[in-house]
């Protein structure tokens, strides 16, 4: 009985994700938002906007720095999970 609620929540989240995938543009679609302007803007303006000549660094650390912050948090959580899994109690540590 206890497991019903997590299963329901997970099913709801999974449903949401599947619906999101269905809304995504098809692979290689020329009219996808990623291909309508933002790519040209990155290539044209990234040096003036960020001062970095490496466009990839400009994208992941300036335009999408918030995303990279989340990525760093994933690493943090990974270490936390390993610590928790290997913790053996006060008298052993």
């Amino acid at each position: 009985m206890k497991k019903v609620l997590p299963v329901l929540v997970l099913a709801a989240i999974g449903m949401l994700l599947v619906l999101t995938v269905a809304e995504m543009p098809t692979f290689g679609d020329g009219q996808a938002p990623a291909h309508r302007g933002v790519m040209d803007k990155y290539l044209r303006d990234s040096a003036q906007d960020t001062g970095a000549i490496n466009t990839i660094a400009a994208i992941i650390l300036d335009y999408r720095a918030y995303d990279t912050l989340g990525e760093a948090t994933v690493l943090f959580v990974a270490v936390l999970a390993v610590s928790a899994a290997l913790y053996q109690g006060e008298h052993h540590a």
Partner: protein, 162 residues
Amino acid sequence: MWLFWQFRRLCTKVNTMHDMVLEVVNRLLLPFIQLFGMYILFHGHLSPGGGFSGGAVIGASLILYSLTFRFARVKHRLDHDTSVFFEAAGALIYVAIGFVGLFFGYNFLTNRGVFPLGVPGQLWSSGMILIITLALGAKVSGTILSLFQELLEGGSDEHGNP
């Protein structure tokens, strides 16, 4: 689980092993590996590379160091608290850089208008990107090293005995 115990056995073996060839070769190699990692970090905004890859190289060199020179013996120089400190400091610097933008009235993690951008192509340019790359390097190397130390120390007491 079986893999984990094999790893623990290997690490216990390494902890008591003493190999002169390994030590001499690593004494020569480690500075160059770490210099290469630093190069990747500092040129993250100029050439391929950046915080994650440079941090991985430096973290791997630190793992090599503690494997070669017996972890229990060099523990006072490279203990778990140090790696956790670098990891937490990297994350903290990242978030603090984001709040600098808020402080000057821009969005969270704003670069242009808050930090001096410099001339594109020079080493000291690109404002916060360079700072965040260094912070990410500290964070990633600390993460790799502390994962390694966590697996090594998992079931042992504070003196490194299994």
